[in-house]
């Protein structure tokens, strides 16, 4: 049963989705129960990975080449833990956000399906199963994004759906080529067999390119800002914090695990250069954004860029503790951004609800009337900038050290510029909170909605920064080599 518990983070939200579909009247109640159980199963699984080794199981009882493997190692478990906690926060928030609205009816089953797919991607060990999971993820994400029903939202998510389909097709062609040569789809079997060849190179490029579309890597991010900025707040949080991470996770998995002996420094440099472009362009656009949610969406583009900046460093670093540090820092960065961006979007949603709009220049009153929400934005913002003691501070520290050690000092300029731009756009929002408006009557004005945002933002700063060690031990590393 311990290995069967691997399936729970996938089966539980799926069952929840089915029940909320069938019983729409009590969907919020069922949804929260399913979310709680899903989060608990995810955390339990993380605990098991932490305690022991990697877990894996082959479904169907047929053994590996024939059956589909499901596996959890440190990397999957870290992201699973993130999706569990962030997902729970989003679910609790959604109860308040959608209260009394017809949209909640549609939100719950789709959101639980999205969560199914997300956990499924993190735990999958089979290339074709990953394709199905990615499609489920893309479909439910596009449907959720269009939930506001506004013209912009529908148009943006239609574009997102098509882009996602193009990415999936490209990925699937890569899988087909792999199957042509190796006759199996299991990642662990493949990683033993794959050797450098034109075919392997072509497949990794096709799969990476497809996933880069889904991960919104600059300049393929064009679909992200409108899609994320026009979705309802809990959906924006899920899309920005979790969904793009799934595609990124898969690229990381492919490059460092399956195709580790095929990737080259040149190719990794290209990914890094695109990441650098994402940081600069995304941060700049965030600074120029007129709306709070658009700012958050562009900030996601920039943060994805930081994650891709790790590839040239990982590629150039010889195996050893220093590379372990880099890898763990990359995961830490992704997880921190998950928490911070979810908190940011949830808080932005509250501000938008309160003010009736989210134009940054006119937010002074709304921001000051919601101290807890403004505080959440400040906390999440400091994690996005990379201020201590947030997790991204440690990640940036390790990243910059890695850049020096591998002699790639030029990334330093990008990181520093990106950090300054991030500080500029975050403080542009925060300065609205310091005005001479009348003050509110209490710190927390709507506990059910404000507390999840606050807790998510707080954990991105305090939890992940002050105790980053667990990520290292979860990944099986000894701890940072300073």
């Amino acid at each position: 049963m311990t290995t069967d518990s691997l399936i729970l983070p996938i089966a539980l939200p799926l069952l929840g989705a089915l029940l909320t579909t069938a019983l729409p009247r009590i969907a919020p109640l069922l949804g929260v129960i399913a979310a709680t159980l899903t989060a608990l199963s995810g955390l339990w699984l993380t605990g098991q990975v932490w305690g022991g080794d990697a877990l894996n199981i082959v479904l169907g009882g047929w053994g590996l080449p024939l059956g589909i493997g499901v596996a959890a190692d440190g990397l999957s478990a870290s992201l699973l833990a993130m999706s569990s906690l962030v997902g729970l926060g989003i679910s609790v928030y959604a109860v308040g956000y959608f209260a009394g609205s017809d949209r909640g009816l549609h939100f719950w089953p789709l959101w639980l399906l999205l969560w199914t797919a997300l956990n499924g991607v993190f735990l999958a060990a089979d290339l074709f199963n990953l394709y199905v999971m990615l499609e489920l993820l893309g479909l439910s994400a596009a449907a959720l994004g269009a939930l506001t029903g506004s013209r912009e939202a529908v148009a943006a998510n239609l574009r997102y759906l098509l882009v996602g389909l193009l990415g999936s097709m490209s990925y699937l062609l890569g899988v087909a080529l792999i199957y042509t040569a190796y006759g199996t789809l299991d990642i662990s079997l493949l990683s033993e067999r794959i050797e450098p060849s034109a075919l392997a190179a072509t497949s990794v490029v096709l799969m990476t390119a497809g996933l880069a579309l889904k991960a919104a890597l600059f300049p393929l991010h064009f679909w992200l800002p409108p899609a994320h900025a026009n979705a309802p707040a809990p959906v924006s949080a899920a899309l920005s914090a979790l969904v793009v991470k799934a595609a990124f996770y898969l690229i990381l998995r492919l490059w460092t695990d399956l195709f580790a002996n095929i990737t080259t420094t040149g190719a990794a440099f290209i990914l890094g250069a695109l990441g650098a472009g994402a940081i600069l362009w995304g941060s700049w656009r965030a600074l120029r954004a007129e709306r709070l949610k658009l700012l958050a969406a562009y900030s996601t583009v920039a943060q994805i860029g930081y994650l891709f900046l790790f590839f040239p460093l990982l590629q150039a670093m010889p195996p050893g503790p220093a590379r372990d540090d880099l890898f763990a820092a990359c995961v830490l960065m992704a997880v921190t951004h998950g928490f911070a961006k979810a908190g940011f979007f949830l808080a932005a949603g509250l501000v938008q609800k309160n003010a009736g709009h989210d134009r940054i220049d006119e937010l002074g009153g709304a921001a000051q009337s919601m101290p807890a929400t403004t505080f959440s934005i400040a906390l999440a913002g400091s994690a996005l900038i990379g201020l201590p003691p947030s997790g991204s501070f440690i990640a940036k520290w390790v990243m910059m050290r890695g850049a020096f050690e591998t002699g790639q000092w030029w990334w330093l300029i990008v990181i520093v510029t990106g950090t300054l731009l991030a500080a500029a756009y975050i403080f542009r929002v925060l300065s609205r909170a310091f005005g001479q408006e009348p003050t509110p009557r209490c710190f927390v004005t709507d506990a059910r909605a404000e507390i999840p945002a606050l807790l998510l933002a707080l954990s991105s700063v305090a939890l992940l920064g002050l105790a980053a060690g667990p990520i290292w031990s979860l990944l099986g590393f000894e701890g940072v080599q300073t």
């Binding site: 069967d4 399936i7 799926l14 169907g60 047929w62 024939l66 199914t116 489920l136 479909l139 075919l199």
Partner: protein
């Protein structure tokens, strides 16, 4: 569309295709290929079905199929979230109506046959479900606005039937110690048939409901001020 740009993209795509063809060719040339085929066929007797494709779909890789049902569900839920369905078409003329009276039962019957035959020959839940869905499409084309589907509450239960039965059986098997979606020896045939039946109904209903293209109307659809233009009846 800008001609130069499409030409440029055409050249790029063509280059990509040439490269892919080359890579594909070299792979085929060098690798005579030992696939999963022999293994899949070797274990076929244990799988509970004699059609190898069905064995892969519902036994070896049943997990994929479960998720595929979830994908279908997600698409329909997405469609429903976009708003109520539009009114249907005008009622069929007598010739079409007579044909529909024949075709729909025939499609349902053929679907049942395909479902049963899937165990040992090409066929199975998806083919059968597609036929059921087609029956719904025909009904809607012939003027039945709801495509012959039951009320919304029933539809909700029917569309989750496939994935529901599938995942419940999987979890039950996991609880009883066989492992998620690992059928006990000898029981595979009936379990697969059960799952396939549920999936067929769910797929048929989902496809038909997707064709209707919106949330099912409760009773008589409230006539919105914009409706008449889409309603040919109003024009006469």
């Amino acid at each position: 569309m800008n001609r130069d740009l499409s030409l440029l993209i055409g050249i790029l795509v063509a280059l990509l295709a040439v490269l892919l063809l080359g890579v594909f060719h070299s792979t085929l040339a060098l690798d005579p290929g030992q696939r999963l085929a022999s293994l899949a066929l070797e274990r076929l007797p244990e799988s509970g079905v004699s059609n190898p494709v069905t064995a892969v779909l519902l036994n070896y890789r049943a997990y994929d199929t479960l998720l595929e049902l979830a994908v279908l569900l997600a698409a329909l839920l997405g469609i429903w979230s976009l708003g109520p369905a539009r009114p249907g078409f005008q009622p069929a003329g007598p010739a079409l109506a007579a044909m529909v009276d024949w075709v729909v039962p025939l499609a349902i019957l053929t679907g049942g046959y395909l479902l049963w035959v899937g165990g040992h020959a090409p066929g199975g839940a998806f083919q059968a479900g597609a036929l059921l869905g087609a029956a719904g499409v025909i009904l809607r084309l012939a003027g039945n606005a709801g495509a012959g589907l039951p009320s919304e509450a029933w539809q909700r239960w029917l569309i989750v039937l496939g994935a529901g039965v599938f995942s419940l059986i999987g979890l039950l098997l996991a609880l009883t110690g066989y492992g998620f979606l690992s059928y006990p020896p000898g029981q595979a045939k009936w379990l697969i048939l059960l799952i396939e039946t549920a999936a067929t109904i769910a797929i048929g209903v989902t496809l038909a409901a997707a064709y209707v293209g919106g949330r099912p109307q409760m009773a008589q659809p409230p006539r919105s001020p914009l409706a008449p233009m889409a309603d040919p009846e109003a024009k006469r």
